[in-house]
């Protein structure tokens, strides 16, 4: 998500520059040939990135779409065109319905929570607190830990006789089953993802906070606005853009969540953490059902495309 946004911005500004130079009366052939040469140079310089884009994104995408219409026989290895059969199988499979429900509910709960908490932490660490740099760093540190390591740390902490239950018992609460219970496993994974992600997303909100001109706060102070009034009328409205970005980028990230599920629960207990990325991996690599796995990839791409469209819309409204 983040690179895509950056590319769009660059493309827009490049477009403007071209338009400006375009209508100018051409003084001489030399100038025109220089323009052609500049364009060629631009293409040459872009070519590594374009090639990488084609080889690593476009080709696999085409291959996924192609395979989603094919059936590979487990017995013979023969691959044949199978029309929409993979999609029909997937869309009528109660297992896939439950994957969609688990993934959507997980995202609907997790992402707003991350946005609210990272904004709250950003606001908190934007206050004049002693050692504020230290607090910020401590909140950010988990973001620098790879997902697999985060999962392993939490798997030990969330064991039935692990650290978290020891703390619960210390304060007089009953121990919880966490990852071994179908009603708590998704919640437990949500907690560890939030722990790992908060600091990262907080940085974006802090950047947004720094963009708000001090003059607005000074004017509001002159008008007698208190802390709460300034938060509701100035800070939050002007943070809408970074918060929308965090919400959407974080949603995309959460849709692609895989490591903790693979390491900790393998989609269980009873499918309660079978998020869509793990289901794709499971169908493609463990069950050997490549066609259906790729059909699921295509459905995931479409879902994410809808989310990106929503992002455009949110950002456009903000501009108007």
């Amino acid at each position: 998500m983040r690179p895509a946004t950056a590319t769009r911005r660059t493309a827009r500004s490049t477009g403007r520059a071209v338009r400006r130079t375009g209508p100018r009366p051409s003084g001489s052939g030399r100038r025109r040939s220089r323009t052609v040469r500049t364009t060629l140079v631009a293409f040459a310089m872009l070519s590594p990135a374009l090639l990488a884009l084609v080889l690593m994104r476009v080709v696999p995408m085409i291959s996924a779409v192609n395979q989603s219409f094919r059936h590979v026989s487990l017995a013979t290895g023969d691959s044949e065109f199978d029309g929409l059969a993979n999609y029909t199988h997937l869309l009528t499979d109660p297992g896939f319905h439950s994957v969609l429900v688990v993934t959507l509910v997980f995202n609907l709960v997790l992402n707003p929570a991350i946005v609210v908490l990272s904004t709250a932490l950003a606001l908190l660490t934007a206050q004049r607190l002693p050692l504020v740099g230290l607090w910020r760093s401590m909140i950010f540190v988990p973001a620098a830990v790879p997902g697999a390591v985060v999962a392993l740390i939490w798997s030990t902490a969330l064991e039935p006789d692990g650290l978290v239950n020891a703390l619960l018992e210390f304060v007089g609460l009953p121990p919880q089953p966490f990852l071994t219970s179908s009603s708590q496993a998704a919640f437990s994974i949500g907690i560890m993802v939030t722990w790992g992600a908060l600091g990262y997303w907080m940085i974006f909100v802090i950047a947004g906070l720094k963009d708000i001109p001090d003059s607005l706060y000074e004017a509001a102070a002159l008008d007698g606005a208190g802390w709460w009034r300034r938060l509701v009328s100035i800070t939050l409205p002007l943070l809408k853009r970074p918060m929308a970005f965090v919400l959407i980028a974080c949603t995309v990230g959460s849709f692609l969540l895989f490591a903790p599920v693979q390491i900790l629960t393998k989609g269980g207990p009873n499918g309660s953490t079978n998020l869509i990325m793990f289901d794709i991996y499971n169908r493609t690599y463990l069950l050997g059902d490549v066609g259906v796995g790729q059909a699921e990839v295509v459905i995931l791409m479409l879902l994410l495309a809808v989310i990106v469209a929503v992002q455009f819309r949110l950002l456009r409204e903000e501009k108007a």
Binding site: L51, V72, S73, L74, P177, T180, P269, L287
Partner: protein, 434 residues
């Protein structure tokens, strides 16, 4: 900026692009020797780190100066799909490959990926610890792979913990193992005496490899038949699964502990019993605990059964170096020195009689009285009650499905209901993929 800079940059960019293209294509550029009679390069695809096979390759190359063996190390999770893809698109550049236990040999035989190596059968059986470790890799009377490694299962116990709980240690005579019922009773005694945090651990929770022997021992068979019909609902499997379910319900075994931690917990003296493979010896030795080794249990009224097998190695049907590839396979399995080298780094049991004898002698002596009976148990189990994973179409679908079933039962799902669901889902999935 001046023009030369722009030009230099664009040239650099073009070179960069060229390199990218090369990098994109480079991965598939493997070779096999041309028509010459010297300098053959064999490519050996496996799912281990390169060092696992380095010693045996070095030994082989020393004895066969004209042959070089190059490894293609593929991560385990992608191994089967990578081989399917590479072999499906011509199989160029792969001469030998490891073949997992279970249905892999059958699947790859149906797809025409594996060369018939029946001409090695007689020598392989003569050299192997047991005949079944060779014949388990036969399909339609054709031998398709040979196993350099094998495994079995043992009941390891902590002597001090059992003494503290007043429990008598299980016998080490492989002909008279404990029953699972006796084991449960002992684990209960450990629990009520508070002698160990974990009365009973398994090395690999929720895996078919670990649980197959329990289903077979209880009379439930493999859980899948030759037509790919799954049945975990029969009396035998239900007996085994209810027992498994009960261990966690009663707190004799822990939920939420992942497989990487079990060995370490036993090693640290936190468990009374662990059911584990031959590698359990080195794990326990590293802990400095007083332990003992007994044969794997069986269900009362049922038969003794112990899980076995590991990777085998097959020759690609597309290889242009069939003789050299077979020579390497012969060295890996039939040659005692080669087989010992093949098992050395992995620390796993070799299949060749002579290599096996040397391995057993070394393990028996590794921890005094604790391991003195290890070799006798291992040999007895391999010869008398080893259960091989079923060679059926759809095994690759069956195994992960069974793993999910066991995992859910461990976490509290009802064994009968969850087994019925697994029977239906896995059977339908196998049928769909036929």
């Amino acid at each position: 900026m001046g023009q030369p800079t722009t030009r230099t940059l664009s040239v650099a960019a073009a070179i960069g692009a060229g390199l990218l293209v090369l990098a994109g294509c480079g991965g598939s550029a493997t070779n096999s020797s041309g028509g010459g009679d010297e300098e053959i390069t064999l490519t050996f695809a496996n799912a281990d780190p390169a060092e696992t096979w380095a010693a045996v390759i070095e030994g082989f190359e020393e004895q066969h100066p004209g042959i070089t063996v190059k490894q293609l190390n593929i991560p385990y999770a992608q191994y089967t799909s990578t081989i399917n893809q590479r072999m499906g698109s011509g199989g160029e550049g792969i001469d030998l490959m490891v073949v997992d236990a279970g249905g892999a040999a059958l699947d790859w035989n149906n797809r025409g990926y594996l060369a018939d190596i029946t001409d090695l059968r007689e020598d392989a059986i003569a050299a192997a610890v047991s005949e079944s470790m060779v014949t388990a890799r036969e399909v339609d009377g054709k031998l398709l792979a040979l196993a350099p490694w094998t495994t079995s299962q043992f009941l390891y116990y902590n002597v001090d913990v059992l003494a503290a709980a007043g429990v008598e240690a299980p016998p080490s005579d492989p002909a008279t193992p404990w029953t699972y019922e006796q084991l449960t009773e002992a684990a209960r005694a450990v629990q009520s005496a508070g002698a160990a945090e974990y009365p009973l651990l398994f090395d690999q929770w929720d895996t078919y490899y670990q649980l197959q022997m329990m289903g077979v021992s209880a009379g439930g068979g493999d859980g899948i038949d030759a037509d790919g019909v799954v049945d975990f609902s029969d009396d035998g499997w239900q007996h085994a699964l209810s027992w498994y379910h009960g261990l966690f319900e009663d707190g004799l075994s822990p939920r939420g502990i992942t497989n990487d931690k079990n060995g370490a917990l036993f090693q640290e003296g936190k468990a009374a019993f662990i059911i584990s493979g031959p590698w359990g010896v080195s794990v326990a030795n590293a802990g400095g605990i007083d332990y003992g080794v007994a044969p794997a249990p069986y269900f009362e009224g049922g038969e003794a059964a112990t899980s076995t097998d590991s990777w085998a190695v097959g020759v690609s049907s597309k290889t242009e170096n069939l003789d050299a590839a077979k020579e390497f396979l012969r060295y890996l399995t039939i040659d005692p020195d080669g087989n010992a080298q093949a098992a050395e780094v992995a620390g796993i049991t070799p299949t060749n009689k002579e290599a096996f004898a040397a391995y057993v002698e070394q393990v028996n002596a590794s921890a005094g009285a604790a391991t003195a009976g290890f070799g006798a148990i291992l040999q007895y189990q391999l010869e008398n009650n080893a259960v091989h994973r079923p060679t059926v179409v759809g095994y690759s679908v069956f195994e992960p499905g069974a793993g999910q079933l066991f995992s859910d039962i461990r976490n509290g799902s009802d064994p009968a209901e969850r087994a019925a669901q697994a029977d239906e889902e896995i059977t339908a999935q196998i049928e769909r993929l036929r």
